[in-house]
C-alpha cells in the first residue's frame, strides 16, 4: 500500500505537472512535482523500496517526456540516493529545513539532469536550457518542497495503516 501510494503520488505529480504546463504554459516555472516526490521518497522510504519506486516513476516520466528511455529513470534514481543519503545524516524538518532540502535537491537535480542530458543532447542546447531553468526551477522546488511534504505525509498517514506499537 505504501508503494502504491508513492507510485500514485508520483504519477499524480507527473500528471499535474503536465496539466499545468499545458494549461498555463508555465514551462520553466512549472512546479516539478516529480522531483518533489523523489525527494520525499528519500526522507520516508528505505534504500531499496525508494529506489524501486523512483526508478519506476522515472521510467513513466520518460514516457511522458518523450525522452530516451532510462534518462529520467537514472535521474530519479540518483536524485533519490542523494536525498536518501542526506536524510540519513541530516534531519530536514520544519519549513526552513525542507526549504534547504528543496534547494539542495532542486539544484543538484537540475545539474544532474543536465549532466545526464549531455549523453543524449548537444552540448550547446543543454547549457542554454540550463541557464534558462536554473533560477525558476530552484525557486519552484524550494517553495514546493516545504508545502508538498506535509501534504504527502498527511496522505500517507490517511491511507497507509501504521504498524501498531506497544507503549512501554
Amino acid at each position: 500500500m505504501s508503494v502504491a501510494l508513492a507510485l500514485l503520488a508520483g504519477l499524480m505529480g507527473l500528471c499535474v505537472d503536465l496539466f499545468v504546463r499545458e494549461a498555463w504554459r508555465l514551462d520553466a516555472w512549472s512546479p516539478d512535482f516529480m522531483v518533489l516526490v523523489i525527494l520525499w521518497l528519500g526522507t520516508t522510504r528505505t534504500w531499496t523500496q525508494g529506489a524501486v519506486i523512483a526508478s519506476m516513476l522515472g521510467l513513466v516520466a520518460d514516457g511522458f517526456a518523450g525522452s530516451p528511455a532510462g534518462l529520467h529513470m537514472l535521474h530519479a534514481l540518483l536524485l533519490f540516493y542523494l536525498s536518501r543519503g542526506l536524510s540519513s545524516r541530516v534531519l530536514f524538518q520544519g519549513f526552513i529545513g525542507r526549504m534547504l532540502l528543496g534547494l539542495v535537491g532542486g539544484l543538484t537535480g537540475l545539474f544532474l539532469f543536465a549532466a545526464l542530458g549531455k549523453l543524449v543532447l548537444p552540448d550547446g542546447q543543454v547549457a542554454l536550457r540550463l541557464t534558462e531553468l536554473v533560477v525558476p526551477r530552484i525557486v519552484v522546488v524550494v517553495l514546493f518542497v516545504p508545502l508538498g511534504f506535509p501534504v504527502l505525509d498527511r496522505l500517507e498517514s490517511t491511507f497507509v495503516r501504521q504498524p501498531e506499537r506497544d507503549v512501554l
Binding site: F19, A23, W47, T48, P68, M73, L74, L77, L78, S87
Partner: protein, 311 residues
C-alpha cells in the same frame, strides 16, 4: 527512519536499477529511431498523456476565453467612451447645422432687404425679470466693413434703431455701450410700433403685453369698424419714423370687438420666436437701394435717421 533488512540488498538493487537505466539509455541511443522500450513506454502512457494534455488544453482555452472576456470588458468600456464622444460630436454637428440654418436665414433676410443697411449682432442673454422683455446683444465687428478698426463696435448705432430677425421684427435698441447693446423687445410693456394689417389695411399700434409666460403684443387704436381677421399678418407701417415699412411683426391671434367706443381689441403673436433668438440684425437705415438691390431713383431725399425712442 526506516531501514533495510539486509545491508547488501540495497546496494545490489541499486546497482541493478542503475544498470538497467544505463542499459536502456544505451539501447535507445544505439537504435536508429526510438528504442523498443521507449516505444512501449510511449504506448503505455500515451492515452493518459493525451487525456491530460487535452484537459490542460481545454483549461487553457477556457482561461484564454476568460482573459479574452476581460479584454472584451475593456473594449466595451473603450467603445462606450467612443460612443459618448461620437454622440457629443453628433450633437455638436446638430448644433452647427441649426446654427448654419439660422445664419442662412439671416443671410436670406439680408438678401431680400437690400434696401436696408443691416448690422449683425449675437444674442448673449435675456433680462431676468417678470416685467421687462430685454435682449442683451454683443456686436460683431466686421473687419471689412465701416467699423473696421473701431474696437467699440457700436460706433454708428443709435438708440431706437429697429432690430429684426429672419421672422420679422424683434424690437428696437434700448441702449448701446461699446460692443454691447440692449434690445427692447416688441412684447415689452414699453414698446409701441405703428403697424398696419396686411390685408385689411387697418392701422393700429402694437404695444407689448409684458406677460411673463408668453410673448405677445396688443393692438391698440384699431378702428372698431375695420374687418380684422384671425391670422392676418401685421406689418410695420413705417409712419413712426423708426421702423421701415413692410417689416413683419406677427399675426393676429384674437379679435374682441367692443360694444362701445371707437376701437376694438386684438392681440398679435410675433412671428419671430423671441425665446430662441441667437442672431439678429440691427437696421442702421436705408441703403439707397431697392429691396432687390437695384439703384433707387434719386428723386427724393433719403429718409432721415430715426429720432424716436421707446414709448
Amino acid at each position: 527512519m526506516p531501514r533495510s533488512s539486509s545491508p547488501r540488498r540495497p546496494i545490489v538493487v541499486g546497482l541493478l536499477l542503475i544498470g538497467a537505466a544505463v542499459g536502456l539509455l544505451i539501447a535507445d541511443h544505439a537504435s536508429t529511431g526510438r528504442g523498443p522500450v521507449s516505444v512501449t513506454l510511449g504506448a503505455l502512457v500515451g492515452p493518459l498523456h493525451r487525456a491530460i494534455s487535452a484537459a490542460g488544453h481545454d483549461t487553457r482555452a477556457l482561461w484564454s476565453h476568460y482573459v479574452a472576456l476581460s479584454e472584451v470588458h475593456e473594449d466595451n468600456a473603450a467603445l462606450r467612451a467612443r460612443i459618448g464622444e461620437l454622440e457629443e460630436r453628433a450633437a455638436s454637428v446638430d448644433g452647427l447645422r441649426a446654427e448654419n440654418q439660422r445664419l442662412r436665414a439671416l443671410l436670406d433676410l439680408a438678401d431680400t432687404r437690400k434696401d436696408l443697411r443691416l448690422r449683425s449682432a449675437r444674442v448673449v442673454g435675456r433680462s431676468v425679470s417678470d416685467f421687462f422683455r430685454v435682449l442683451k446683444l454683443t456686436l460683431e465687428v466686421d473687419p471689412q466693413g465701416e467699423d473696421a478698426g473701431d474696437t467699440r463696435g457700436g460706433a454708428e448705432l443709435v438708440v431706437g434703431m429697429p432690430v429684426i430677425a429672419p421672422g420679422g421684427v424683434v424690437g428696437q435698441l434700448r441702449s448701446v455701450d461699446g460692443d454691447r447693446a440692449e434690445v427692447l423687445m416688441l412684447t415689452d410693456l414699453r414698446s409701441a410700433i405703428d403697424v398696419v394689417l396686411e390685408t385689411s389695411r387697418a392701422r393700429g399700434v402694437a404695444v407689448g403685453t409684458g406677460e411673463p409666460d408668453r410673448y405677445a403684443a396688443r393692438l391698440e387704436y384699431l378702428q372698431r369698424n375695420e374687418a380684422t381677421a384671425i391670422d392676418e399678418r401685421v406689418v410695420t407701417s413705417g409712419d413712426d419714423g423708426r421702423y421701415p415699412a413692410g417689416l413683419v411683426v406677427g399675426r393676429v391671434t384674437s379679435v374682441k370687438p367692443q360694444p362701445h367706443g371707437l376701437f376694438q381689441d386684438a392681440e398679435v403673436e410675433p412671428f419671430v420666436d423671441l425665446s430662441a433668438l441667437e442672431e439678429v440684425y440691427i437696421v442702421l437705415g436705408p441703403s439707397g437701394l431697392t429691396a432687390d438691390g437695384s439703384e433707387l431713383q434719386r428723386e427724393k431725399a433719403p429718409p432721415s435717421a430715426p429720432t424716436g425712442g421707446p414709448r
